[in-house]
Symmetry: C2
Subunit: 265 residues, 2 copies
């Protein structure tokens, strides 16, 4: 179906429907960050906003948000299955290479979840527009600025500028959901490079949850879960002392999840 500007007539008024996506990234320097785009047109011209766009008639809201995510991050994505707000509340987007041969990056998936509908009557000055909000966790290193004409930039979560529409409200909801989720799902790994160290992982958790953990306790708990594999390589950014490297073992996690599993902090 092609979106064609034209004349569409209905017996009852209908709202426009958009999706907006809070794209989270993380690195040690900036901490938890989000990807924003600068609006090129009115309303809120030149204000920063969450990436988003209008729902097409032939796509689900999931697909719409994924499309936007793909446009902003430059990642090519294919959908594993459709879920909406189904009980399968986890959504993995596997990257699809332009050609199979070109795909050499190790991990190409992102966590993706619907937050919900934001529908304040006055949230968009253009008229009645409701938005289905999503959040995604991406590996920041793989997404250095969008590749389309729009200006896109990462902002540390504590230095987010004033946002367009009700996007600050959406952001608060996304943060709230992220904090909630990370208690139960090992989604933090989606924000890190495939190989990481325990201190990095701990800093990530501390950045998201805004708390401090004891090094020994954090490490012990993580390793006890049995979902981390030690990796022989060394990280490029060796500190004063070189820490041990780990890799998230998704298979072991899926096994454990099947027989009831809770990850709490």
């Amino acid at each position: 179906m092609v979106v064609k500007k034209g004349t569409y007539t209905y017996e009852y008024p209908r709202p426009s429907v958009t999706t907006d996506c809070v794209i989270f990234g993380y690195d040690v320097k900036a901490g938890l960050s989000i990807l924003l785009v600068k609006r090129g047109i009115e309303p809120f011209k030149d204000r920063w906003a969450l990436p988003g766009g209008f729902l097409q008639m032939d796509e689900t809201s999931d697909e719409c948000a994924m499309r936007e995510l793909q446009e902003e991050t430059g990642l090519s994505i294919y959908t594993a299955e459709t879920t909406d707000a189904d009980n399968v509340d986890e959504y993995r987007l596997e990257a699809k290479g332009i050609s199979d041969a070109k795909v050499v990056t190790s991990r190409r998936s992102a966590f993706f979840e619907q937050i919900g509908c934001f529908s304040d009557v006055e949230r968009d000055p253009r008229g009645r527009v409701i938005s289905i909000a999503y959040y995604a966790l991406v590996e920041k290193g793989k997404v250095e600025g969008g590749d389309d004409a729009r200006l896109a930039s990462w902002f540390p979560i504590d230095s987010v500028p004033s946002l367009a529409f009700d996007h600050e409200k959406i952001l608060r909801a996304a943060l709230s959901r992220l904090k909630e989720r990370i208690h139960f799902k090992p989604i933090g790994f989606d924000l890190l490079p495939e190989v990481f160290t325990l201190p990095q992982l701990q800093a990530l958790y501390e950045s998201i949850l805004e708390v401090h953990f004891d090094r020994r306790n954090f490490g012990a708990k993580m390793l006890k879960l049995g979902i981390l594999d030690e990796v022989g390589e060394r990280p490029k950014n060796a500190g004063p002392r070189i820490p041990v490297n780990y890799r998230f073992n998704k298979e072991k996690y899926e096994e454990m999840k099947a027989k009831g599993f809770r990850l709490e902090f």
Copy 2:
């Protein structure tokens, strides 16, 4: 704003937007149940469905779902604040009496939360219709059948008939969300009469979570939370041996919640 059938023209096609609400109730005999309405018109005429309706241009999706809930349950409701999918993920609807003098029932609030948007392209045969789904917890005793012309009926959660649209999918999501929430919020009390016994409360938890608890451990844990007040009265359905009665102390709960509080099972 009055909804008027007429001619509404837009430059781009727009979906219709509805809300649907999974209304949960509970009693000892039937266990966890939901309120369904029998559709009087096509599509899915004579099939059971979740109560729902179209979003009006002057109301948020929260207000729309509340309006439907009110129509089905006969409860008059006022909104405490608007939340959408905000981080204030809890929503309390306080009943508003026709006149203050008439309000003699003790507890008049219900738990109410948005689940999310369901937007499968083919979910409604009438065309592109997306639905914002909600669930609500009500005291079943106060809602014995809708009072409008539509046929409304309670169904135990394990005897739900085949539903219209994608409502079975929405129901699965609602159950999943309910199970998740009850781990952290004492929302179960919204499903019980104001005065209840520990065995009743335990049966409720067991019905929702589909597990079995040891009586002694369950009681000890509940009482240790300090959010239950012992009450001298007797419940109407006293068993062979008369159990102790309790009342949920919302004030104590709010206090504890403020200083970090987790309710786990």
